[in-house]
Subunit: 163 residues, 2 copies
């Protein structure tokens, strides 16, 4: 198993992971009617570094990293992670998150921020907390969940010690 930078050859495999997750609209605040091409333009856009987790030739997960702000906020990275539903429960999100923390240090980022963690995404929240992230903000009713209606979103943050 390896995590490596994505190439255009990975686009189809990445699209098959991110398309259904974006279109489900339960965890990302992105337009649910985006086509897979639009999803890929977002996830692999020129503002981002995009990675894939590959296992025996299959792409099972992907993440991106970008500066969360410009100017005086450019030392804080933002990331998004998605895992193939087929590969759930195998700890792949944890592997990608740990990889991203290492990569952020290499890129001289000083912190990582998740701007919008949907509060119903409890497994992700537990995982980020376990990896050292703190909930630093709560946005009341900032996300309209397709099944649960208005729910809170969380801001999570970690200063990277030894960066």
């Amino acid at each position: 198993m390896q995590i490596r930078p994505a190439t255009q050859q990975d686009a189809s495999a990445i699209g098959s992971i991110i398309g259904p997750i974006i279109q489900a609209g339960e965890t990302y605040s992105l337009a649910r009617d985006m086509t897979v091409t639009e999803c890929l333009a977002y996830w692999m856009g020129p503002d981002k570094e995009t990675f894939v987790l590959e296992d025996d030739g299959r792409i099972l997960g992907t993440y991106y990293m970008r500066p969360n702000q410009a100017g005086g906020g450019a030392h804080v990275a933002n990331c998004g992670y998605m895992t193939s539903p087929d590969a759930a429960g195998r700890g792949l999100a944890r592997l990608m998150c740990a990889h991203s923390m290492d990569h952020a240090r290499k890129r001289d980022y000083r912190a990582i921020q998740f701007n919008f963690v949907v509060s119903t995404n409890e497994r992700a929240i537990r995982l980020w907390e376990n990896l050292g992230y703190s909930i630093v903000g709560r946005l009341p009713k900032a996300f309209e969940h397709p099944d649960e209606g208005f729910v809170d979103a969380l801001v999570m943050y970690q200063w990277l010690e030894n960066a």
Copy 2:
């Protein structure tokens, strides 16, 4: 005095307000080396509604409104406000903020979020609190101030009752 939608004829006046503020790099997390043309492309971009505050034919302030997120987060607006330094202390930021809250209701936004209020911008924080915003998040050392080094940034938020 009136607040009205900006037109391309206002671009030069808007640029003379936002250019120096962005280039000073003390309050907005935007690249300080942006040209005025780039500043205007940002402030008057197609993702935004842009307004000006005009007094006796002079543009003294400007603000924008946009959805803060897409998809399930599109009911929350984001705004930025800038006032000409010549017109400081006259309550123009308050007028623009009140106007934006009315406008957000008209546009069926349910809340307004400020993602990144630099913690040293105390006058703005007091004003937003006075207008009903709450500090819902604190991002430790998320802004590198040109004079003060790493300082916190705040997330401020208001659900629009009666929206």
